[in-house]
Symmetry: D2
């Protein structure tokens, strides 16, 4: 039996220390501490780890953190939405997003050519410059092949980038596939459409990509998931794992609630009825804003893995 | 200036009456009353109306309500996720979903072959039988063409069904396109993959479908949106409208919050910074479970449209 | 076994009809339909019904609805916070609250002497005039007695009002006690303090009022609760019932979530561990804005009780 | 102009470092970083700082953290609910609360005499032993005086305890008043009632305590607030500050949303319309579970205050 213990500040407290002490605080802090442990456990077990996140997280400074995680070898498969991939490319070419405010005058922002995502701002110009970048990329892809599975295409794009903080770059370099089941749902979709107008035989084959994600793991693999936010990223990764026998480890971090029956708010508990998460699996759900909960849990986990010499990619970070 | 008025029950109170009185109650009830008015306004203006919803709403009894709305001519374009379309087909062939409980024993359910979605249950057998239905459908599609835009494919499938309560059927019959930007993200994706294994030249062309949604409306159209829940359904419809100059009317109904910068929780206010919703547009956000808020607002709106003889498809319902 | 049924609009649909059909829709609509049934059941069983709500609901147009419910005999004990009681008095003397907007310029409002509560506005003048009303009331109370239990004091104040839509008035007239465990937490508290400055022997005895609420029901009573929102109103009523053996019927309607361990978000499930809600009780939790969910459930319940001739106070409404 | 910066893990990362980097991440992590800065600013300004929290936070391990904060001199006035104070006394006499699970079998727990608060458990026996402690305390109080303002009573009780981790003890020892506007809303209320049965002249004077909180600060004071969760704790402290001219610094940390017009979810923005928070004040709202957000922001703030030698009570911790 474990008991509530009074949290106490001490000078110079590390992230890993406070997360450790959260295990005895209560409510979501306990779930957060369990999340850190679960990430460690997944990695020690040799599980194939699916990492899913939504576009807004790439708008935020989590983007480089995701790239670092891929580099460190803590995740093996990525599933996300296209908006974030566009922004990863933008940032890789030097675009900077602005710290703004939740209660901005949105009409005034519009007139200034500024787009708001919560308390972050993206300028129209960033999208305009994206147009100049993506065009030549599509051309190169087309010269190589006419029919592309999405994850293969994203891998090629990653190899065209040169940015240590890029998700696409690190994924490509470390042989981590990125799946994006709704590849046209963004500015990228518009550019694909424009390209196809002039090259009607250019095909993005989403069905072939289903094969790719299905074969990205097997029944025999131990399978884990770190799902940040909801949406199809979460659903698609779960689906691929379900078709391979279900998850052994499942970590959901979200603000959504289960009361409306949505996928975004579905708990690891509900997932058990589907066989998405195995009966006897380790499963944790943390309710809260991912920009806070995920870095905390992951930093605490990285700390432990590093202490035990289990951080595969850590050597790569040396000297930076 | 408008004032708070005390709500009062009277015997035999109609939905339209209570929604009317909500305009003077407070908090979300006011937003709900505004939503009803906005739906009326959109329709009177001759706007092209985009209706978006998530799969869990099709799991629920809203499915037949959506079909009815399409039949009545209150929406012109549908954007949704594939899970719901699968379930629409299942229900069209007689499958029944069970009223369950939020706090079920999920492991026990799994053992009984029952999958939980909030407080609703779907049996494994329903999915098994879906397999028998979808196979022949894909074959017919393939015989007709090798390369399909998603919405064209969904239209064909709708025409193969024969169920007045089916979304796919009513959409097809009433020339309403259904867009589904992540067509592989479900059981349907698995069956597409299986089919492609034997028919490698079978292609689902999502890029061509981007063209379809882009051309489903124009800059000159008055454009309205009824967005239920979040996810890519919401985002995709907004994107298509943004590329055509932005929305004149926007109704968002959701449980998500804007505090995490997600698309699901993004408000009509934030949308203005992007030009997604025009500066001077009518825009309403209603926070709450869509299974309650949407029927109320829509029933009140249908009532008014019917009273004014503006319900295009109402004649069709006669005699039922 | 019960199944999902497609919701269908028909012309002239009544509130009670749509709530009935909600029983087969899904997610929170089912819980709402159960809530309506539970209210009917509580009343038929002859239960002593505790109704709790927070101040903001009295700011809204639910205020007169609460008064009507007390008049109709559907609740027997009220627990609430003092802000709402102040506003009930204000409204009884003709003050009107304004329909405003969630995204107002709050600094500008402040300069105009307007206070915002969500999308409702209260003018400073309303509070100023409240001062003129409450002073003489306290004087009368003091002349009658020096030491007052809160609920006795509120009863006297109710009798001084003359407004059919007043909660205090209808409660007093129908012998329904109103408990308010934090009576000083508002403008009323300030006026009590000012009065006590000049009348040091004036005492508001909250301990004696604990006795009153404890004796407002018994172990032998069948006990029911309709708890709207959270806060101490909810907690205090539950406490009184717990000390009398626990609730037989419990309906919680709230937007709060259970994930933070708060009382506001605590579910009827959690309440069972405390014996607050009996093991075999009927208990329903509806997640959503009370200005929508409560009127719907209550109107549907009133309809049924009226149909069966069980609405005690209905005769009183005749001729209005 | 400030820009989004990619978050990066480095070995041995401190809480203060990650919170610093949150300032450039996005969404709630930015608000959290601002919260830390605001706490520092309040303290440097010499503001009178009101700290409010709800009972469930005292159930958790935040209890000793609150005590430590009082000891360190970072807060000057406390407002809370009675449940937490009861539990502070219980814990001071050695009671231990259990780490449990959100999805427990509540009926089974009830049968074992275990009460659930989210994922924490409290045994019935803890309440039984509380009875033995509180009785003699009330007797001592009564012997000293017959009529008690709440905060005076709580101060006396604090002095009877001997526990460094106790909120009541540290508050009493450091001359920090604790206000509890609904003192009877808990087990404590029951014991007060029992005591008054035998000692009818025993009076808990809540009106006099209103005077105490009103005079706990002045118009001339710089005033700050750290409000954790909602409920009357938040409202009461705001009220006292409003009557003294409004807050200069306001930090709200909560999971509640503003969409329902509740006090718990009211933002610092809305507070400006009331003059609760001054126009030009520094105000931050952080959405999220307080067991995570508060320790992070406060630890980061303590770190900075300590670095600058501004932590009044830090010397007291030496040698522990």
């Amino acid at each position: 039996m474990s008991y509530v213990k009074d949290l106490r500040w001490k000078k110079g407290m590390k992230v890993s220390e406070i997360v450790d002490s959260f295990m005895n605080v209560g409510f979501q802090s306990i779930e957060l501490a369990k999340a850190a442990d679960l990430i460690v456990k997944m990695n020690k077990s040799g599980a194939k780890v699916f990492l899913t996140f939504t576009s807004n997280m790439v708008t935020s400074g989590l983007r480089g953190f995701f790239a670092q995680i891929l580099r460190l070898g803590v995740a093996d498969v990525v599933v996300t939405t296209v908006g974030g991939l566009e922004e990863d490319i933008m940032k890789s070419s030097g675009e900077r997003f602005i710290i703004g405010d939740f209660s901005s005058d949105d009409v005034a922002l519009y007139e200034k050519g500024v787009n708001r995502v919560g308390n972050l701002f993206i300028e129209n110009e960033s999208y305009a410059r994206f147009e100049d970048i993506i065009g030549p990329m599509l051309k190169k892809l087309y010269e190589k092949e006419k029919r592309w599975a999405v994850s293969d295409m994203l891998r090629e794009i990653g190899l065209m980038l040169d940015c240590e903080d890029s998700i696409l770059y690190q994924a490509a370099k470390n042989d981590i596939p990125i799946f994006c089941p709704a590849i046209t749902d963004g500015s990228f979709g518009f550019h694909l459409f424009m390209f196809q107008q002039d090259h009607p035989d250019f095909v993005v084959d989403v069905v072939r990509d289903f094969k790719n994600i299905l074969f990205s793991t097997t029944h025999d693999d131990i399978k884990g998931m770190i799902s940040l936010g909801g949406s199809i990223s979460k659903h698609h990764a779960i689906l691929a794992c379900l078709l391979n026998g279900g998850l052994d480890y499942a970590l959901y971090m979200t603000t959504a609630r289960h009361s409306s029956g949505s996928m975004s708010g579905a708990t690891t508990q509900e997932a058990k009825s589907w066989g998405k998460v195995k009966d006897d699996s380790d499963a944790v759900t943390v309710i809260g804003d991912v920009t806070i909960t995920f870095p905390l849990a992951m930093v605490a986990a990285l700390e432990k893995l590093s202490d035990e010499g289990l951080l595969k990619g850590e050597g790569l970070l040396k000297g930076e």
